[in-house]
Symmetry: C2
Subunit: 238 residues, 2 copies
DNA sequence: GATCGGCGGATTGTAGACAATAAGTATTTT
DNA sequence: AAAATACTTATTGTCTACAATCCGCCGATC
């Protein structure tokens, strides 16, 4: 009997669907529906939801069911505030403590990450980026930072998915740079350069931040008050 | 029917027993026994354990039951490494965002904290110290730092309980200083001095750290090789 | 006409019984 | 006699059924 594996599959599927926004923030998670969908009964499903709540994927309110962890203005602000500190600390510790086996896993993930970029598979790219940084979290081997990192990665992934717009080809260059930075992470970790990894984490964050910000606060429309839009566009005047 | 409240009571009791070392790190948590003890059935108890696992109080291994979160050498090292960063960040944010209602709760807790010190109630003092800092965590209103803070406070409380030794009267002074710092926290939060709160958090940490360290690395025994112990004690010679 | 109170459907929470896995023990075999 | 294997037992994981709570709807009353 593989009800055990069905439960594990359910957990993994829910995480994936939440990260890729297939289940958007705030959406309700009906126990009966999900239990039927993953062919398990409600008690193990409820346990899974409790576990996901502990990991920060969902929010549970007494007698009012589970919902996908919401993302509001404050969440975004706190994310921008907290991410650089935690990412940097984790990178430093990862370089200090990584084992050869962990580095191998990181390299494998990086290969898949580059492949996802090449193939233009947005969701897969986001998931593999999450996995890359989660692996660095494992390397850090710090049970006190791990939970914060996990929460950050959840929302980082969801934010990336939110603000992704395939029409902006210019981002291809930024994605390349991000992938290059991942390679650099691997190098620094291999030579145990904690300080270098911490610095790179901040640069990596800055790249990601600017990419997100370019969607949140796009360039102002290039149109003068009362002028001909086409003329404004031609001259480049503000 | 108040099975719901029994479940809540069970959760609170388990947290309390873990923090006070009534349930020591690594000890097994038998589902049937606990369910009977708190007069609930196993499914809700299992959900409670899953929740506590998410909060960092217990560790669950597939098919091998739940145990109280262990504390080994590495845990202690990571704790000393991580605590100042998180405590400081939380204190800054708490000062920035605290509401009057939260400040009132903090003051209430501080009164109880001082009372516990006066009465020499170690466990209650440890619990109220935990609550004080958990309330500051609430004030910070940062869902990304909260989980790390919670985990730190769990082990901070347990470490305090571990290394407490009522024979050392000299610590009464340190406890007074800690309580004074709590008062200072309240003042700084009330005037929204984030930088001051962050600095105080580091000082507060340093006090706690030195107190713990004095137990981990006590003064060397005052005995000369081959000499009469009593003589060494009398003269104070190394 | 608007608001409050009560009723019914739907959903969450709980209970007890059953199945499966793991650990401990005893027996058997080399 | 020691080690490995099979069996027993205790414990975890799961399922179905039942109870309690919440939310939306309807009617009644002011």
């Amino acid at each position: 009997m593989d009800s055990r594996s069905r439960k594990a599959r359910c957990l993994e599927a829910l995480r994936h669907r939440i990260l890729t926004l297939d289940l958007p923030p705030g959406s309700a998670l009906d126990e009966a529906t999900l239990a039927a969908e993953y062919e398990i009964s409600r008690p193990p499903l409820r346990e899974s939801l409790r576990q996901l709540a502990g990991e920060g994927y969902v929010a549970i309110r007494e007698n009012r069911g589970a919902t996908v962890a919401p993302m509001d203005q404050r969440t975004l602000r706190n994310f921008f505030l907290t991410a650089p500190m935690i990412y940097s600390a984790v990178a430093r510790l990862a370089a200090d403590h990584a084992t050869p086996a962990q580095i191998m896993r990181l390299k494998d993930t990086q290969i898949l990450f580059r492949a996802a970029i090449r193939e233009g598979d947005t969701a897969r790219r986001a998931i593999l980026n999450e996995r890359f940084h989660a692996l660095m979290g494992d390397m850090a081997a710090n049970e006190f930072l791990a939970p914060s990192l996990r929460r950050l990665l959840i929302d980082h992934t969801r934010i990336s998915m939110t603000f992704y717009d395939p029409r902006f080809a210019q981002l291809a260059k930024q994605r390349e740079r991000a992938a290059d930075q991942h390679d650099r992470f691997i190098e620094l970790i291999e030579v145990r350069d904690g300080q270098g990894a911490a610095d790179l984490a901040l640069a990596h964050w800055e790249l990601s931040r600017s990419e997100i910000e370019s969607f949140v606060t796009p360039e102002a429309l290039n149109i003068q008050l009362g002028s001909d839009p086409k003329a404004a566009h031609r001259t480049g005047t503000i």
